[in-house]
């Protein structure tokens, strides 16, 4: 997401940097480019105007004190960055835990925003941190919303309080009350309440939401909003703020390609922080919303922090330890280990999603969009078509073995050759790194695995700087 915004900002700043000295007219031109980019991204007009005015004003005073053009461009970049962070909610805010448990979180939003799925994600997120959440099914409107929540709860071993079957039957206010009583009696330390989707203009349902709120006395009301929402974000978020009120915002479906202008609009207009971001269909595709990381992403600076965290989570303890031990004992990294890494990488999710988090200019982003995730599958197929002996010692791969592997994996012999060549190069590099005394923890992270799955159009193998993924990880260490 935000890709178009990113490329716009990229173009704007590279044109600014090319100036010897930035004039007021250069600044005006940049501001109008930024304005256009934000408008095309569904940011509400009033938000755009105030954002651009703020940037123009701050930049103007910065220009007066800094002389060289490059430094001026960097200063403006910094101003835009910090303004974005500020709008997106400053430093990430966490859920306020109640002094006397349970901490009660109520979800509210339009139909189809993703409340029920989010309830499951929140429950998993907090259960994983050692809390004991209880899900309460107050969406008695949508057919089988209750069943959906029960299934989600069962899949993550979180109990679901659902005295009513739903489907239009039952009183959500009563369920809310009973849910709290139940949670207190059973000593759950957290209650997450799913509610029915409702429109901002539906005053009847909005007052029902207020009754649920009054019954729950929630510590946090989270407004769940689809990141693809358009200009209506303004009216709807205002209607929810005036209607039931909310303390924080959750952006869902952020794994889509929506430019996410809604995030800026809602945060600015409601003065409520965006607290969580939901980024996929699995219950684990969920994280705290980091305004600084999001601003970096918008500005094309990448999101290395998230990438590093995901890598750490995906390369599970066993694989990493095995590799580290291998590395320390001086054993060679084999194609078998490579296969383990490839599997771990597929666990991390789509490669294009991962690469999208890396810093880089718009041109590279474009290439990433075209990245073929099938490459991992094909590479795995090639390695899996090798015998264990061949995986351990690729040197035995003669012509006939290679053509057998090509046949077995359904790839061309030339592709097998490329893989083996790149692997040998990576293996050699690993040996050098080891003799250079790099920390052992790098074992799993050095990822020679990245080399063979570089986009085909990239220039053939070269120095480490040609591998942005690896470079970024090295830099982030």
């Amino acid at each position: 997401m935000f890709d178009s915004l990113t490329s716009r900002f990229g173009a704007t700043f590279s044109s600014l940097r090319s100036r010897g000295k930035i004039s007021h007219s250069d600044l005006d031109a940049s501001c109008s480019q930024i304005r256009q980019a934000l408008l095309e991204s569904d940011v509400a007009l009033e938000v755009v105007e105030s954002f651009v005015a703020e940037i123009a004003q701050k930049s103007m005073s910065a220009l007066a004190t800094i002389q060289s053009g490059t430094n001026q461009a960097n200063a403006i970049f910094e101003i835009v960055n910090s303004s974005l962070i500020e709008i997106l909610g400053g430093s990430a805010r966490r859920v306020r835990f109640a002094k006397n448990p349970p901490t009660v979180i109520m979800l509210a939003g339009l139909q189809g925003a993703g409340k029920t799925t989010l309830a499951g994600k929140l429950a998993k997120f907090y259960a994983d941190q050692g809390n004991t959440p209880l899900l309460v099914a107050c969406d008695l409107q949508r057919p089988n919303a209750v069943t959906q929540l029960q299934l989600l709860g069962a899949s993550i071993n979180v109990p679901v309080f659902c005295p009513e079957a739903g489907d239009g039957v039952g009183d959500p206010v009563k369920v809310a009350q009973e849910g709290i009583t139940f949670a207190k009696a059973k000593q759950y330390n957290m209650v997450i309440v799913d509610t029915a989707g409702r429109l901002g203009v539906d005053s009847e349902l909005m007052s029902q939401a207020c009754e649920i709120r009054d019954a729950l006395q929630p510590d946090e009301i989270l407004f769940v909003v689809d990141s693809m929402i358009g200009q209506d974000a303004v009216r709807t978020s205002q209607a929810f703020l005036d209607g039931v009120g909310f303390d924080g915002v959750v952006l869902t479906k952020l794994d889509g390609d929506a430019r996410g202008g809604a995030a800026l609009s809602i945060a600015t207009l409601t003065k409520r922080p965006i607290m969580f971001a939901s980024t996929g269909e699995k219950l684990s595709d969920f994280d705290i919303f980091y305004p600084d990381r999001m601003a970096s992403r918008i500005l094309g600076m990448g999101d290395v922090a998230t990438l590093a965290e995901q890598a750490k989570a995906a390369f599970d303890g066993d694989t990493s330890k095995k590799l580290e031990a291998k590395f320390a004992s001086g054993e060679d990294f084999t194609l078998g280990d490579f296969l383990d890494q490839l599997s771990a990488m597929s666990k991390m999710g789509s490669m294009s999603k991962l690469l999208g988090m890396l810093p880089g200019n718009a041109a590279m982003k474009k290439q990433i969009e075209n990245f073929d995730d099938g490459e991992i599958v094909r590479t795995k197929a090639i390695v899996e078509s090798m015998t264990p002996h061949e995986r351990a010692d690729p040197k035995v791969l003669n012509g006939s073995r290679r053509s057998r592997i090509a046949l077995g994996s359904g790839r061309k012999v030339s592709e097998v050759n490329t893989l083996v060549d790149r692997f040998s190069a990576a293996q050699k590099m690993m040996r050098q790194v080891r003799s250079g005394g790099m920390p052992a923890g790098m074992g799993a992270m050095a990822m020679p695995a990245m080399a063979p799955i570089r986009p085909q159009s990239a220039p053939k193998k070269k120095s480490k700087s040609g591998n942005p993924a690896k470079r970024a990880i090295e830099e982030s260490q």
Partner: protein
């Protein structure tokens, strides 16, 4: 929403528009999610309008952007008509399938629906509940079954049952997920081994912004969308993006969902919709 009322009043009142008035009009057009391109075109048309028949002229300008294609359902006369309903998560596919099924049933034709959303928890049950409510048979497979297999079985059974319509619900998917789009293409491909698919309907949530265009483009390229269902248009958003999609991609808006009950569903009538915008 009286989108153009201000403009009409202004045009009727005076001949010249101050630049600030144009700016205000632009804001109103943008605020309805019509998007920058359509907004610019309409502004140009508005600039050419002479006073008296301003409303008429604007209605015409907007109408001229609409498709020439028929908004009638495409059917397989005398045989089984298969309708595939696709769209992004949470845009209202399952509800629309139920509404459409009831609509067809009310017209006297026979219909069965297939629960092709085997991914989301309780999606099959959601459709089954609807099926019970409206008295329509729901064909379903196992949870996490291959949706193409479910659709294939449904097509076979519907053919054998001699019904007039088969509506296939599918799992919500973001259009930028290539593997999920491939899965959808497979659903269409295997169903067409049994019987041609007459219609592929894309659900567009009225609250969606400019991303709706990307959704329509990619779904269309994948499974050749033949019509749009504009959902949730009973809220404060009026779904200008659907008009923008129709204008740019020549895909007719066929149905419009206006509430939570199955009766809140009607054929899209562009004249009254535009009249609604212009008054």
């Amino acid at each position: 929403m009286a989108l153009f009322s201000k403009l009409i009043a202004k045009i009727k009142g005076e001949n010249s528009f101050a630049p600030t008035d144009w700016a205000e009009l632009e804001i109103e057009l943008l605020a309805s999610d019509l998007g920058p391109t359509l907004t610019r075109d309409l502004l140009e048309a508005a600039r050419r309008v002479k006073s008296e028949n301003a409303q008429e002229a604007l209605a015409q300008a907007l109408t001229s952007h609409l498709t020439q294609k028929s908004r009638l359902p495409i059917i397989n006369q005398g045989g089984l008509s298969v309708v595939l309903v696709v769209g992004v998560n949470g845009t209202g596919k399952t509800t629309s399938v139920a509404k459409l099924a009831e609509h067809i049933k009310a017209s006297g034709a026979s219909v069965v629906v297939a629960a092709g959303d085997t991914f989301r928890a309780a999606a099959v049950e959601q459709l089954q509940t609807w099926g019970t409510r409206i008295g329509v048979e729901v064909i379903s497979g196992k949870v996490n079954a291959d949706p193409a297999a479910v659709a294939f079985d449904a097509a076979q059974r519907a053919s054998a049952m001699n019904v007039d319509y088969l509506l296939i619900d599918t799992a919500g998917r973001l259009h930028n997920k290539r593997d999920l789009m491939n899965e959808l293409e497979k659903v269409k491909r295997v169903v067409e081994k049994i019987t041609p698919i007459c219609e592929v309907l894309l659900t567009i949530d009225a609250t969606t912004g400019q991303n709706g265009m990307a959704q329509a483009k990619i779904f269309s390229a994948s499974v050749d969308v033949t019509g749009i269902i504009l959902t949730k248009s009973d809220g404060s958003a009026k779904g200008g993006i659907a008009l923008a999609i129709e204008s740019e991609l020549d895909i007719p808006i066929k149905w419009i969902g206006t509430g939570e009950s199955t009766a809140d569903f009607e054929s899209f009538a562009p004249e009254s919709y535009i009249r609604g915008l212009l008054t």
